[in-house]
């Protein structure tokens, strides 16, 4: 099953160390208090467990695939207007 990366869920990126995982977890919980964000809390605590709890890690390692958060903006499709070319190239829709 595809899940969001545990590191992404905890907001960890770049140069961090193992000890930072706990801090990141606390920050995430502060940001999303469990009583108000039960679903987000589950994600956060699962992410924390998979990175710090060996039993949990071994139970999930072989079945869980994680996806990375990607912040990228793709330009909205420009309307492709090819109508002008109908005037440049001769064609008729009929059989003649």
């Amino acid at each position: 099953m595809l899940k969001r990366s545990s590191y992404d869920i905890l907001g960890l990126s770049g140069d961090f160390e193992f000890g930072d995982i706990k801090k990141a977890y606390r920050n995430a919980i502060k940001k999303y208090p469990p009583e108000q964000n039960p679903q987000e809390f589950k994600l956060i605590s699962d992410a924390y467990d998979v990175l710090t709890n060996e039993d949990y890690f071994l139970r999930h390692i072989e079945k869980d695939l994680s996806l990375l958060d990607i912040n990228i903006e793709v330009k909205a499709d420009e309307t492709v207007d090819n109508s002008k070319y109908l005037k440049d190239i001769f064609e008729v829709p009929f059989i003649i």
Binding site: L2, S5, Y7, L12, F16, E17, F18, L51, T52, E54, D55, F57, L58, I61, E62, L65, S66, L67, L68, I70, I72, V74, K75, D77, T79, V80, D81, N82, S83, Y85, L86, K87, D88, I89, F90, E91, V92, P93, F94, I95, I96
Partner: protein, 750 residues
């Protein structure tokens, strides 16, 4: 003015040859032969007709293929022979397609007043369009009334389009409702282009519309305008496609070509993340792990920067059989650990170490593991299970490991216990030296365990299980000769009973039996072993050929041999043979009487290593008495609890079949056919299955058994799968041999 005199043609060309050129649509050559040679037996008028038809067909074919310049050259050549309006109309059409509207308008003037109504209508249609394309939107309305409703509205639509009156254009197109399906679809295509809507591709669409909607340049007229516009359209479409691809990837809808990511995203970090997610989607949505692994290997130098990448690589490697990519593992994890070891929990590193150590058997692997303080993993995997003498350093290592709890360490210890257990099952076929060595190792293990200092409470169940397995195992050895080990085991059990405060009532049956043995001063297993053991289990063990250290039949380069007596030792016993003969007789009698033959086998006592000969002899007899049916081979195997495709049988079965072939090749091939067919399709891409196919086709060839469908399937399947999987063991001479068989088959089929 130049006057050209017709050259007198002296050489002759055969009429039939000319006809043959014509039939084969070689029109250019027909024209050239008519020009150069005298064609006997064909009148000048007939030749002129042929020439006209050739030019007309050439022009039409060039036009359809988009070569408007050649088309107009052909039609002009034609007009030199015949200036009829029919051909002039074609020229008018080509002039329009060449965008030579000025000339088209001039040229049309004679045709729009033609007495031929059809010519007139088409000429007016082209004439009016040429005017519009030429920029003259003042349509001569009196001509419009000569057109059909569809064409009239189309002309008006085009005029509106040129005047930038899009709504009008669409309105007229709506009114232009031609009857022919092909024309209707083309009108719809123009509407789609004008209103930027998507459309299903169709072969009926004219080249320009296909080009504008799908960037498909097939048969597009090769004019200056199309050449210029092509680049624009293709680039527009590729940008649009890349945008769509990336959007799909970000929305996690589907994986996309990596090229789209690289072309579209210049930021290296983002690019790598997208490649990573793309591989994930390839696994999840397309279930194509092979391709996913290939991509991972290709982009590993970028992916290694992502902390999650080790997990992905291990998952991919575990699900794809690809030894080639083993080569990159050490390098990848070397870099990975350099970059990320500080981010990882010790158990995550251990997990990588275990994986790496099991796959890449190199000294450099141990060095890498040691560099990141993973000596304990090397100890658990390569020292702990193979201790031949007691060493204080080993004791210290295991003390340190078991003081703290780790689920992974527990798993490694548990797998060692499984090893002891499986050795117990294979005990009878072990060589004496192997038995001695194992007893020594078990003794050292007990010593180590007895001196274990304060193991973590979570190891309690595992340790007690280990002691049960060891207690059972040592019962394989005579008590009197090995009393010390029995006592050491009991002392070790007692040590842990005290340490973990276990109630003796809760001890396992095996531990109870250990104490009982010590009390009675004899092993509880040795005496009863032979009578209790299932004869078919024994058979399996013997077939597996286990000798302690080697997995003989799992060797990829293993050769089935040629069926000579020297290939493997046989252990026939006259009494057993007599007994088996009587069973075979009973079996065949039952088959002949249409009774259940397995009923006669309830009390079967069979010498295990003779099972294949037994089966093959039964087959031979059933063939002899004409009672053979495919179904009972499957029943027989089921009754014997044998699945030939299982690793314990699959190599040895082929050996016995080849050996039996010397006695009766037909029966051997009959059994071989059965087992080949019975293999599930997903297992048919395995190395061993290809080896079976190789052996089967060799059998058929060696004994001239005749090529049948299975033989053909075997050869084709072998080549196909080997080319796909590229098993080392089957490359070179083996692949060449099968390819020669393939060539023979092709020759036969031809």
């Amino acid at each position: 003015m130049t006057i050209t005199m017709a050259k007198k043609k002296t050489k002759e060309f055969d009429k039939n040859q000319l006809l043959s050129l014509f039939v084969s649509k070689n029109y250019q050559k027909v024209i050239s032969k008519i020009k150069q040679f005298t064609i006997k037996g064909v009148s000048d008028e007939q030749l002129r007709e042929v020439e006209l038809e050739c030019y007309e067909k050439l022009a039409a074919s060039n036009f359809e293929n988009g070569d408007i310049n050649r088309a107009i050259r052909d039609i002009e050549s034609l007009l030199k022979l015949d200036e009829s309006e029919k051909y002039k109309l074609i020229k008018l059409k080509y002039l329009c397609y060449m965008e030579n509207f000025q000339m088209a308008i001039e040229f049309a003037k004679d045709l729009i007043v033609s007495k031929n109504a059809n010519v007139k209508k088409d000429a007016i249609f082209l004439y009016l369009l040429a005017n519009v394309y030429h920029g003259d939107y003042e349509l001569e309305l009196e001509y419009l009334k000569h057109l059909t409703v569809a064409k009239k509205n189309y002309v008006l639509a085009m005029r509106a389009l040129f005047k930038e009156e899009m709504a009008e254009a669409l309105k007229f197109l709506e009114l232009s409702n031609p009857r022919a399906k092909i024309e209707k679809e083309n009108i719809q295509a123009i509407q789609a282009i004008l209103s930027h809507q998507e459309l299903q591709n169709s072969d009926m669409l004219k080249p320009l519309y296909r080009f504008l909607i799908f960037a498909d340049t097939t048969n597009l007229q090769n004019t200056k305008a199309t050449r210029e516009i092509q680049k624009e359209i293709v680039s527009k479409f590729s940008k649009e496609k890349e945008n769509k691809d990336i959007k799909n990837l970000i929305a996690l809808k589907s994986s996309i070509p990596i090229k789209s990511i690289i072309d579209k995203v210049s930021d290296k970090e983002l690019q790598t993340k997208l490649i990573y997610n793309n591989i994930m989607l390839l696994v999840e949505k397309q279930n194509d792990r092979e391709e996913a692994l290939k991509l991972f290997v290709k982009y590993r130098n970028d992916l290694v920067n992502i902390v999650e990448s080790a997990h992905l690589l291990i998952i991919l490697k575990q699900s794809v059989e690809d030894k080639k990519s083993d080569n990159i593992l050490l390098g990848f994890f070397d870099t990975y650990l350099k970059l990320h070891h500080k981010k990882l929990a010790s158990f995550q590193k251990d997990f990588i170490f275990v994986y790496l150590f099991n796959i890449v058997k190199k000294e450099a692997t141990s060095d890498l593991i040691k560099e990141y303080k993973g000596e304990h993993i090397i100890f658990l995997l390569s020292v702990f299970p193979f201790m031949d003498k007691y060493e204080a350093s080993n004791q210290a290592q295991i003390n340190a490991i078991m003081k703290k709890y780790s689920a992974l360490h527990l798993k490694l210890i548990a797998s060692f216990i499984e090893l002891i257990d499986s050795t117990d099952e294979e005990f009878d076929i072990l060589k004496d030296s192997a038995k001695e060595q194992i007893l020594n190792r078990v003794t050292i293990l007990l010593d180590i365990m007895k001196n274990l200092e304060r193991p973590h409470k979570n190891y309690k169940a595992t340790i007690m299980h280990m002691l049960s397995v060891v207690s059972k195992f040592i019962q394989q050895y005579d008590f009197k000769e090995n009393e010390k080990v029995y006592l050491l085991a009991s002392e070790t059990v007692n040590y842990f009973v005290d340490y973990y405060n276990i109630d003796k009532k809760d001890m396992s049956k095996e531990v109870d039996e250990l104490f009982a043995s010590i009390k009675k001063k004899k092993s509880v297993r040795i005496k009863t072993k032979k009578t209790e053991e299932n004869i078919f289990d024994m058979m399996k063990k013997l077939m597996k050929g286990f000798d302690g250290d080697e997995d003989f039949f799992d060797d990829e380069e293993f050769d089935y041999g040629d069926g000579d007596e020297d290939d493997e030792e046989y252990f026939y016993d006259e009494d057993d043979e007599e007994y088996l003969d009587s069973v075979k007789e009973m079996f065949i009698e039952a088959l002949k009487d249409k009774k259940d033959p397995f009923a006669t086998m309830e009390e079967l006592k069979i010498v295990p290593h003779m099972v294949f000969d037994f089966i093959l002899d039964l087959l031979a007899q059933s063939v002899k008495y004409n009672v053979f049916k495919n179904i009972w081979v499957a029943q027989l195997l089921e009754w014997l609890d044998m699945e030939i495709a299982e690793s314990e049988y699959r190599d040895v079965a082929v050996q016995y079949i080849l050996k039996y072939a010397k006695k009766d090749a037909n029966v051997a091939s009959l059994f071989f056919e059965h087992i080949l067919i019975s293999v599930e399709s997903q297992k048919r891409e395995s190395l061993w299955y290809l080896k079976w196919l190789e052996a089967y086709t060799d059998l058929v060839d060696d004994y001239d058994l005749g090529i049948d469908k299975l033989y053909q399937y075997g050869v084709y399947h072998f080549i196909f799968i080997q080319d796909k999987k590229k098993f080392k063991a089957l490359s070179g001479a083996k692949r060449k041999k099968m390819f020669n068989k393939y060539k023979k088959l092709e020759a036969l089929n031809a």
